[in-house]
Amino acid sequence: MAGVLRWTRPGRRVRVMLTEALFLQLGYNATLVTLGAGLLGIAAGVTGVFLVLGKRALVSDAVSHATLPGIGLAFILMVMAGGDGRALPGLLLGAAASAGLGLLCVSWLTRRTRLGEDAAIGAVLSVFFGAGVVLLTVIQTMSAGRQAGLETFLLGSTAGMLRSDALVIALAGALVLGLVLVLRRPMTLAAFDPDFAIAQGLDVRRTELAAMGLAMAITVIGLKIVGLILIVALLIIPPVAARFWSDRVDHVLALSGLFGGISGYGGAALSATAPGLPTGPLIVLLAFALFVLSLLAAPRRGVLATLLRRRRAIAPGAGR
């Protein structure tokens, strides 16, 4: 009996820490980071809806992997300029630049060569990621690079995040969220029926570019917390989960934002309870849990509802 008690004690401590983290009692910095992750999640969930509706989910995966060489180059440039190579705004600018280049490569390959978009995505994703890994290895051998911690951009980490970093992420996330909400009507129209949208005078090409650019912005903003390997999941899983619950874009947007927010907030809080818990994977696992819940329990479109309906159809009256 005594042994059992001793075993439950660490469990209780984790539970207390989790409660403290969820209710923002782990100190100012951790609170700021958790709130930032929550806001990032909301923005990612809402932005991701248009990525999924426009069938561009995989492109954003290529884009996120294409950020890595930009991070490495930005670090080297900042160190050579005599500054702090780890300054987050500089690293994010570098990431955005190479992500944009990756996006251009995908669209150029798709439009100007006989390569299909899937092949173009595969090529760009692996080449840029490979270049990034080489750059990171080079940086490891630089004297300034040993403590750079750039590898945290792969899977995301909130440990040791600066207050200013959290603010940058939260503000940028709020900005993207605002833009997506303003542009939701044209982006819906362009995704649903592009020919009709053009006939109404909408610049569909520019609208699609905006949708892609906003998703790219989320990718870059989310690098620090979620990491470039998994950020695409935070863009795609919440919208897909939200779709189970509603047939209206407005509702899907709201729910997707909610799911993303819960995942970001909860994942960041969870990872704050113990050192070394990776933030990105925890956020994605939470999002996945919400997806499974939606898949099973959603009314009408969920698996359980479908099974019930089918049973009722087979035996009329049995369900009454």
């Binding site: 005078g201 909408l202 509603s246 047939d247």
Partner: protein, 273 residues
């Protein structure tokens, strides 16, 4: 009449748009050439559509009928040519034009109800931020009612039949409050009830002074449904009232004599969609 494709097209060449068509025509096209890759889809098409008429665009598969509508609306970029609507450039008249595309390209899993689709027709007046209010909803519902779909307003579009979907898209066009309606195969793959409902609404539009241009594939119903007919096969062939223009000789010109001699066979030459 037809222009030899091998002849270099001089800039000064006068394109024979009929004089009566120019400023009053809701849609006047001159010298429109479109190509997909190497093969021309439209070759130097000039046509002025009559105001207040219901015109069918007729031609064999691959004649460029859909491309004509799409390039007239700027959806497909033409190599050359000019499009005016009521004598003005298209860009300034878009609010007066409603387009009903083919249903084939739509993602039916899209989170949109019939009502949401109709509200998309009000995009120009709603803009980015204006909220959808009761008057908008009431107008959308009355458009659905005109096509007999008011009971399905809350239905997700993928759970409607093909004919019902087509009626919803017509309702979306009605919501635009346009003067010119351009429809791409509105009757393809729809049930008989839908066909009757759509034709009734289109005739109402024309009776109220609107203009209807529709790509049509069922030759047998042309005389019953349409006032005028435009025959084409990559190039323009002829345009005129159904009574005089919808003739055996003109159809042979358009279809290259591939139509069987009996009317039933003519109907069988319809585009397979």
């Amino acid at each position: 009449m037809k222009i030899d494709s091998t002849r270099p097209k001089a800039q000064s060449q006068v394109i024979p748009v009929r004089a009566d068509a120019a400023p009053t025509s809701p849609l006047a096209i001159s010298g429109l050439t479109v190509s997909y890759g190497d093969s021309p889809a439209l070759r130097d098409v000039s046509i002025g559509f009559h105001p207040g008429a219901m015109t069918a665009i007729i031609g064999p598969n691959g004649a460029g009928k859909s491309t004509l509508l799409k390039s007239a609306l700027g959806i497909v970029a033409p190599l050359s040519g000019r499009v005016t609507c009521w004598g003005k450039p298209l860009a300034r008249q878009r609010h007066r034009i409603a387009y009903v595309p083919q249903r084939a390209a739509i993602d039916w899993e899209f989170p949109a109800r019939a009502l949401d689709v109709v509200l998309m027709g009000m995009y120009r007046e709603l803009g980015l931020l204006r909220r959808v209010r009761a008057p908008h909803l009431a107008r959308a519902m009355s458009c659905l009612a005109r096509v007999g779909m008011e009971d399905f307003a809350d239905r997700q579009i993928g759970r409607l039949s093909g004919g019902q979907q087509q009626r919803v898209f017509l309702a979306r066009a009605l919501a635009q409050g346009a003067d010119l309606y351009m429809l791409d195969e509105p009757l393809a793959g729809v049930d008989a009830a839908t066909e009757r409902a759509i034709i009734a609404v289109l005739k109402e539009i024309v009776a109220e002074g609107g203009t209807v241009i529709a790509v049509h594939h069922d030759l047998a119903t042309v005389p019953g449904y349409f006032d005028r007919v435009f025959l084409m096969n990559v190039s323009a062939i002829t345009e005129g009232p159904v009574a005089t223009t919808f003739s055996r000789e003109n159809l042979d010109l358009a279809y290259g004599g591939r139509l069987a001699l009996d009317p039933a066979g003519a109907a069988g030459a319809r585009d397979a969609h």
